[in-house]
């Protein structure tokens, strides 16, 4: 159905703070971005979008995100296939439901096939950028956190000049009564085919 990027981003476009590494996968101060997940199991917009993410039938991630996440122990959610886009396939066999792919088109078609009638969740800035460059991203779901991080790892970076047109298909804001740290704006865009 759809290959959909799912990322939490600060209003100034960062998905992690500065100096992210395996010991600090979210970088300095990056934990602020994930306060909204405190509401992931509650009724309301944040619970709704979280449930949708976990209803996807395949995961497509970049190698960096995959390693920073400790390879998700081989199971991101419900044992769905995980396609990892990498420049160099690791020597050790992939854990759990993981398969490696070195080509972005191959990764996209593997993930689409694995998801069947379901959607594919894309995770990580590197995979997102590769899919955008290859014209293989169908939708973008952004959880926009009302904070400026100032520095860190950007979601939209290393892209060629030239417009990629989008259509805003959904906008869900947390209610005004929500506590400040858990406030977030969930935006869904469809990527228009060129």
């Amino acid at each position: 159905m759809a290959i959909r990027l799912d990322m939490t981003m600060s209003l100034d476009g960062y998905v992690a703070g500065p100096d992210d590494d395996p010991d600090h996968p979210l970088g300095r101060g990056g934990f602020r971005l994930f306060d909204w997940l405190d509401r992931r199991l509650d009724p309301g917009p944040s619970g709704e979008v979280y449930a949708e993410a976990l209803a996807t039938r395949a995961v497509l991630a970049g190698r960096r995100t995959y390693e920073l996440a400790g390879r998700w122990g081989g199971d991101h959610h419900d044992g769905v296939p995980i396609v990892v886009l990498t420049h160099a396939i690791p020597d050790d066999p992939p854990p759990g439901s993981v398969v490696y792919a070195t080509d972005v088109h191959e990764a996209a078609s593997l993930a689409r096939r694995a998801a069947g009638d379901g959607d594919v969740m894309v995770h990580g800035a590197g995979a997102a950028q590769a899919l955008l460059r290859a014209g293989q991203l169908d939708e973008v779901e952004l959880h926009v956190v009302p904070v400026l991080l100032g520095r860190g790892r950007r979601l939209f970076d290393h892209l060629p000049a030239g417009p990629v047109e989008l259509d805003l298909v959904r906008r869900l804001a947390t209610p005004e009564t929500e506590d400040p740290p858990q406030q977030v704006l969930h935006l869904r865009y469809r990527v228009r085919l060129p």
């Binding site: 476009g13 300095r28 009302p146 904070v147 400026l148 100032g150 939209f156 000049a161 989008l166």
Partner: protein
Amino acid sequence: VGKIVLYMWMSLDGFIAGPDDRPGQGLGIGGERLHDSLVLDDDDPATARSDDRVGATVLAEAMATGAVLTGRRTFDIAGHWGGDHHDGVPIIVLTRSPPAEPAPGHARYVTDVREAAALAREAAGDRDVLLHGAEAARACLQAGVLDEMALQVVPVLLGQGRRLFDDMPGDHVELQLVRSLEGSGTLHLRYRVRTADEL
């Protein structure tokens, strides 16, 4: 008392102009896309109109401001707005080194951001101050004098160009979304900067 409100049109990936923005090509290569929903006569911001009702509302708010605060780069690229941005309100231009010739029309040059903000507020009286330009926005953020941001998020990825939020210190700035409107696919977000005593 009026607020200092940043008004910017930005792509979803955070660009306010395409690459190679300069006088005569103020929005850079491909950056006109960001102003597709606006119609201007002779590049005069006071004549700006929008086809959709929500966009028109936001424009009307911007043009109801009582002073303009901007950076030198934006001011120069815009051809100084002929010395009059809208309705002859005072234009405060933040610059590191004021040029020798006097500022045109209703503009004046100021070198200190706090002084610029205070002058703009005073000039605007009960009305808001329209803040425009990335560098002035950063300076105001860092000086703690920015009250709100009215961001028009255009549904496009430009890929490259000039970013609104760039080259900032790593201190977090906490915000509150106070309004979210949609018009013709463009998202009009209004954020309030949380003050130190709320945090």
